[in-house]
Symmetry: C2
Subunit: 699 residues, 2 copies
C-alpha cells in the first residue's frame, strides 16, 4: 500500500465510525443541536475523504493499457481464443515464453546451481492413493454455491467478499451524497444500520475463518445473493480442485493431475538421499506444471487452472535447522510483515534476517536463509523492492503441521498477491507416505556414542504362536508386521492393541492378512517397554519448502516494468525489464536498406548469437524511431544501429532503452559490452562512465 492509500484507509475507517455515532444519536432521538457537532465532524471527514480519493485516483495504474500492449505483442493470450476461450487458461506467445524461460534459467542459476540442489522431473498424472495420503483428496477444495434459478456458479468466499464490499462501498457513497441512481424498478439504496458497516469490514478481514456450517450461516444471515440476478444461492458445498482422470484402459485406476510438484519430490526421497550419498541437509528442486480446477478463475494470470511452478524441498535435521551459508544473508534487511505486526495492523518492519531469526520472528536459520534468497531473487529479476514484502502466515492460515510460513507478496493493481510461499512443513509429508507404504523415508546417522532409549516393543512367543495358529500363522504374523514402520514399531498402534488386550481380559480379536478374524492373547504376544541401545540415529527430516508461482511473478513483473515514456508526442509504452530477463536482449537496426550494411549486420548477429545473446534484426522500412518504439514495447534493453559511418570506420551505436543514451564503438567492442551487460558483469552506468556519449538527433 502506498502511504496515500494508507491515509485514505484511515480516513475511511474514521468516517465509518463517525457515521455510526451520528446514526446512533439520531436513532436515540437526540435533539438536533446536540447532534450538530457530530454531524459537522462527519461532514469534515467526508470532505477530507473526497479530496484524498481524488488525489489517490490520479496516479492509478492503467491496467487496460498494459493488457492491450501484452495482447498486441503476444506476451500471452487466452487459450483456444478462436473457439471462444476457456476461463483460466492462457497461452504464452514468443516474448512471454522467452521471459518465462529467462526467469526459470535465472531461478535454476540462483537456487539449483548455486546450492547444488538435486533437480527432479516427476509426472503430472498422479494416482489417487498418493493424493489421498497427502490429504489432497479430502482437503484440497473450495466452497461453491449456485444461483438457485440461473445455476450460475460462484466460489462462496469470493461471492461473500464481492457482495459485502459492494454494500460497504454503496454505504460510503450514500453517506458522501453521491449514491448512484437506482436502476429501473430497483429500490434506492438505504443506509446501513449503525455498526453494520464495521461488522462487514471485520467479516471481510476474517473471511478465511468461515468454513462449513459457519459459512452457510453467514450467507443466510447476511442474505448473500447472486449479484446480477438477485436470486438466492444454494448452501455452500465443497468442490475438490483437482482434475480427475482415469489411467489405463480398464477405467479402474483413478488419477488426478497434480495440484503441486511437491509430492513427486517426497516419493523420490530415498533415491535422492542415496544420490546425495546420505548427506543431509540437501534439497530437491523441480520446475513443472500444476493444475487447479478453479471454480471461477479471474484476474488474468493470477488465478489460472494450469500454471508453472518451481518448487524446492530442503530436507533438514529437525533438531538442527542451522544453515551453512546463513552468514551470507545475516545482514540483509528485508521488509518482514510478521503475524504479530499484522494483528496490530502495524505494517511491515525493515529488519535484518539475522535479527529476525535471533528474535524468533522467523522460526529458524534455514527458513530465514530461504526468505532472504527468495527476496534477492525477486529483486534480481526486476520486482520493485518497495512493492515487495515477506508476510508471515497467521496461525489460522497455516496447515496444522506447519512450523512457520512466509509468503513473498508482490503489489500490483490487484493488490498484494502471494507469489512465493516459503513454509516449514515439518516432517508431515514424508511421515504420512512412510506410514502408508511402509517404505523408510528416513535419515540414518551414525551416533558418536550409542543411544539408550526406552521403547515400546512387541514380542511374539514363538512356541505358542506357531502351535496355536498353525497354517494361519502367516496371516496373523502379517497383521503384527503391519504395526511396524520399517524396523520400528508404530508405538500408537501397539498402544491400541495393548489397551484392547487389557480391556478384553488378555484377549483381543484381530484381522489377519487373509481377512479372517483371529484371537490374540497375552500368552502369544508381549507388549512392553524395553531398553534399546542404538548406534544409529534415525529420523524423518523436516522439509522447508520455497514454492514459486512463476505465472504470478511474471505478471507482477510486467506491471512493475511498464511505463509510458514522457515527453513524446504519441504515448510510447516501455517495459523496463532488466537485461537478464528481457525476451530479446539486443535489437539490430540498419539505418536504411543498403547492400553495404550487410556484412556489418552479419558480423553483429553472428557475434551476438555466439555469445548466446537473443537478438532481433529489424530491417523493415519503418523509421529508426518507430523501430526503437516497437522494441521498447518488447522490453528490449539495447539497440545496435548500423549507419553510413559504420561502413567507413566499423563502429556502431549502442543505445540503452530507458535512458535512450548512446555510445559509439567498434562492433566487437559493442558486442562484448552487450554480453557483459546481459551477463550482469557490468551496468549501463558503468558503460556510460567508460565510453564517451554519442549525441545525435534521433531520426
Amino acid at each position: 500500500m502506498t502511504s496515500s492509500q494508507a491515509q485514505l484507509e484511515d480516513v475511511k475507517a474514521a468516517l465509518t465510525k463517525q457515521g455510526d455515532v451520528v446514526k446512533a444519536l439520531k436513532a436515540a432521538k437526540t435533539p438536533k443541536d446536540q447532534i450538530q457537532p457530530e454531524v459537522d465532524k462527519l461532514l469534515a471527514l467526508k470532505e477530507q475523504f473526497k479530496q484524498l480519493a481524488l488525489a489517490d485516483a490520479t496516479p492509478k495504474f492503467d491496467r487496460q493499457s498494459l493488457e492491450s500492449l501484452l495482447l498486441k505483442r503476444f506476451f500471452y493470450a487466452p487459450s483456444f481464443e478462436i473457439y471462444g476461450g476457456i476461463a483460466g487458461l492462457y497461452d504464452y506467445g514468443p516474448p512471454g515464453c522467452a521471459l518465462q524461460n529467462n526467469i526459470l534459467a535465472l531461478w535454476r542459476q540462483h537456487f539449483v546451481l548455486e546450492e547444488d540442489m538435486l533437480e527432479v522431473e516427476c509426472t503430472n498424472l498422479t494416482p489417487e492413493v498418493v493424493l489421498k495420503t497427502s490429504g489432497h483428496v479430502e482437503r484440497f477444495a473450495d466452497y461453491m454455491v449456485k444461483d438457485t434459478v440461473s445455476g450460475d456458479i460462484f466460489r462462496a468466499d469470493h461471492l461473500v467478499k464481492q457482495v459485502l464490499s459492494q454494500r460497504v462501498e454503496d454505504d460510503i457513497k450514500l453517506e458522501a451524497g453521491n449514491a448512484p441512481k437506482p436502476a429501473k424498478g430497483q429500490q434506492p439504496l438505504q443506509p446501513l444500520a449503525p455498526g453494520i458497516r464495521a461488522e462487514y469490514e471485520l467479516i471481510l478481514e476474517t473471511l478465511d475463518n468461515y468454513v462449513g456450517d459457519d459459512l452457510r450461516k453467514l450467507i443466510r444471515r447476511l442474505d448473500i445473493r447472486a449479484p446480477s440476478t438477485g436470486n438466492e444461492v444454494t448452501d455452500p458445498v465443497l468442490f475438490n480442485l483437482m482434475f480427475e482422470t482415469q489411467i489405463g484402459p480398464t477405467g479402474q485406476f483413478k488419477g488426478y493431475l497434480r495440484p503441486e510438484t511437491a509430492q513427486g519430490h517426497f516419493l523420490n526421497f530415498k533415491r535422492l538421499y542415496e544420490y546425495n550419498t546420505g548427506q543431509v541437509p540437501f534439497a530437491s528442486a523441480s520446475v513443472g506444471k500444476s493444475f487447479r480446477n478453479e471454480i471461477s478463475p479471474r484476474q488474468g494470470l493470477l488465478r489460472v487452472r494450469e500454471f508453472t511452478m518451481a518448487e524446492i524441498e530442503h530436507y533438514v535435521d529437525p533438531s538442527n535447522k542451522k544453515h551453512a551459508r546463513f552468514e551470507d544473508v545475516r545482514d540483509l534487511v528485508v521488509p518482514l510483515y510478521s503475524a504479530e505486526a499484522q494483528q496490530a495492523a502495524a505494517g511491515p518492519s525493515h529488519i535484518s534476517i539475522g535479527e529476525a531469526v535471533s528474535k524468533g520472528v522467523i522460526n529458524n536459520e534455514t527458513l530465514g536463509y530461504f526468505v532472504a534468497r527468495i527476496y534477492l531473487f525477486l529483486i534480481r529479476i526486476g520486482i520493485e523492492p518497495s512493492r515487495l514484502r515477506m508476510r508471515q502466515h497467521m496461525k489460522n492460515e497455516m496447515a496444522h503441521y506447519a512450523q512457520d510460513c512466509w509468503d513473498a507478496e508482490i503489489e500490483s493493481s490487484y493488490g498484494w498477491i502471494e507469489c512465493v510461499g516459503c513454509a516449514d512443513r515439518a516432517a508431515y509429508d514424508l511421515t504420512v507416505h512412510m506410514k502408508k507404504t511402509g517404505e523408510k523415508l528416513v535419515v540414518r546417522e551414525a551416533l558418536p556414542e550409542p543411544l539408550i532409549e526406552e521403547k515400546w516393543q512387541l514380542e511374539v512367543n514363538k512356541k505358542t504362536f506357531g502351535s496355536t495358529f498353525k497354517k494361519d500363522a502367516k496371516a496373523v504374523q502379517g497383521f503384527i508386521d503391519s504395526m511396524k514402520v520399517g524396523d520400528n514399531w508404530d508405538e500408537e498402534k501397539l498402544q491400541v492393541l495393548k489397551d484392547q488386550l487389557a480391556a478384553g481380559g488378555g484377549k483381543a480379536p484381530v484381522t489377519g492378512t487373509d481377512g479372517k478374524t483371529y484371537e490374540l492373547t497375552t500368552d502369544l504376544v508381549t507388549i512392553q517397554k524395553n531398553t534399546v541401545k542404538s548406534h544409529i540415529r534415525e529420523y524423518t527430516p523436516s522439509v522447508i519448502e520455497p514454492s514459486f508461482g512463476i505465472g504470478r511473478i511474471l505478471y507482477q513483473l510486467l506491471e512493475h516494468s511498464y511505463y509510458r515514456r514522457e515527453g513524446d508526442d504519441e504515448a510510447r509504452h516501455v517495459l523496463r525489464f532488466p537485461a537478464c530477463v528481457a525476451p530479446v536482449k539486443a535489437l539490430v537496426v540498419p539505418i536504411s536498406h543498403n547492400e553495404e550494411f550487410a556484412p556489418f549486420i552479419k558480423e553483429i548477429v553472428t557475434g551476438l548469437r555466439r555469445g548466446n545473446i537473443a537478438n532481433k534484426l529489424d530491417d523493415s522500412g519503418s523509421s529508426i524511431g518507430k523501430r526503437y518504439a516497437r522494441n521498447d514495447e518488447l522490453g528490449t534493453p539495447f539497440a545496435l544501429t548500423v549507419d553510413f559511418q559504420t561502413v567507413q570506420d566499423g563502429t556502431v551505436t549502442l543505445r540503452e532503452r530507458d535512458s535512450t543514451k548512446q555510445i559509439r564503438e567498434k562492433i566487437s567492442v559493442v558486442v562484448d559490452i552487450v554480453k557483459d551487460l546481459v551477463g550482469e558483469k557490468t551496468t549501463w552506468q558503468e558503460v556510460e562512465k567508460t565510453y564517451p556519449a554519442f549525441v545525435q538527433q534521433e531520426v
Copy 2:
C-alpha cells in the same frame, strides 16, 4: 540393422522357404531319394543359421546392466515406486533431468535461435471441441482386446505380433532340432504346415494394414489367444488414447490432456503471423508434455503415458516450398530409407539431400532442409551415425492429408525406433480449424498484378429478401453467413444449396440461426460463377512439422553412450556423452583431505560456475580411481584434480573420460579449456595437440 543381422535375416528367410519345399515334397509323398538333395540344402542352411546366430549373439547389448546403472545413478525411475508404480510413468532424477535440460537447450539453440522461430507455450488441458475438429476424438485410438476369462487387457496389434512371432520362432527352433521341452500337461510343439511360416512373416510386416473387421477376422482365423492363459480374447474394440477430464465445476465442459503440442500452435496461427509482421515462411516451436493413455505401456522410456515433446510447425506457401537456407545442407549425405527402397527391401541409401530433393525422393526443399537439420541435431547430441536413418513413411502409414513424411529412426536393443517425425501436413489442420470457427487462418499477399478468377458466389436479392422474411431476416441471413469462411464463400456448401434448389424446383428448406426452418427460393438468392478480380492472394499455408520425442531420443542416446571400459579388473561402466549434453561437465577432485587445497578448489569451482559449467566437487575419502569411476557412470567428461603440486605451482591436471589422457596447466587455463570444450569451440584432440600430455600412475 547391422550387416551381420541383415545376413542372419537373409538366411532365416531362405531357411523358411527351403523348409516349405521339403514339407511340400514330403506331403506329396515324393520318394525319399528325390527329397534328399533338398533336405541336404535345408541342413546346410540350418548349420549356417546356427553359426550366424551364435556370432550375432556375442556382441549382444547388455541392456540389464545399463538399466541397473541408470536406476542406481537415478537417471530415471518408475514414478510412484514406493506405491508399487504405475506402468508407463517415469520420474527423472538429477542426471536424467540435467541430460534432458541440456538436450532441450541445444534443441532451442539448433532450431529456435538459429532460425528465429517463434516459441509458444500452450496448455495441456484442451477442450473437446478442438480435438474433435482436429480428428483426435474420432481417430486417436488403438484396438484393444480382453482375455475372456481373466480380463487381462492387450493392445490387439501387439498381441498378434507377440503370438505370431512366438510361433515363427518356435518353428525355427523345432526345425533346428532345439525345441524347448513342453511344460507339464502341454502338447509338444508341432511344425507349421507348409507356407504358414511365410504367411505369418508377411502378416507381421503388414500388421498396420489390419483394422476394424479385418483385424477381428485375423484374430479369429489364426486363433490368437492370451499367451499366459491360453484363453480366447474378445473382439477388438477401439480405445481412445486421450486422458479425459472435466474443466470447471459444472461437469459440463469435457476436456482432454493434449496428445501433441501441435494444435496449440495452429490455434495461435493468426497471432503468430501478426507477430511475424505478416512475413511467410516462419515457424513456431514448443516444448512441453503430451499424454497418451497407452493400453499396455512397455519398453521403458520408449512407450510411456506422459512425455516431453519438442515440436516445430513451419508455415510455408504451398506453391513454393523452397527454403532460403537449403544451400547449407544441399551436399549433406544422409542415410535415406525411401518408401520405394523399403518395398524392395533394399536398405537405406546414402545420398545427398540435394540429390534426394531433385530426384523427388524427398517431396520438397523445406522438408529436405528439416530432414537434414534433424539428422545434424541427433549426431550433435551423440547419436551414433551408423545407427541412425531417415525412413520415409509408406503410403498406408501416412494420414490422408500428408504430402510426405520422414521419421528419424534410431537403433537400439529394442530395434529401430521412431524418435523424430518430419511430416508435410499440407494445410489440413489450419483448414479444419478455420472451417469450424470461421476465423481466417490465412496468409494475405499483395499480388504484383491483379488476379482474375472465376468463383462461385451467392447474391441476396435485398428487395424480396427483407419483405419475405421481415423480422426473421436476421436468422436467415445468419444461415447464409454460415456458408462463408472469412470473406470467402465455401464453394462446397454453395454447391449443396444450389443442388437442393435445383432438386426442389427452385425451393429449398434451410435452418435459420434461431433453429426454425425457412424456405429459400431462387427469387431470393442467386448462386452463380462470377469473374472476380483480386489484388490480394489469400492462401492457407502448408505446414511442415518436425516433431521430437525427447524421452525416446534420451533413452537411445543412453544406449549409444554406454560401454564398459576394457582392461579393468572390475567392470567399469561409462557413458560417453558429448560434453554439450553431459549432466555434469567437470568433476573437481582434491587428491586427499588437506586444508591447503581449499583455496584452489574454490578458485576452480567459482571459475566453472561463472562460466555456467555444471560441476561437481567430490571430496569424499574414496580413492581417486573410485571417484573417477563413479563419475564415468554419470558420463562426466572432464576431471580436474588438485594435488600437492597444485599448492606449489598452481597447476591442476585435466583428465578426459574416454581416453583417460591427462594434461597439466594453470587453473585459469584449464578452466578456459573446459569452457571451450563444453561450448564446442574446441575438441579434446585439439587440446591434446596443443598441450603436453601429463603422464602419471592413476592412484
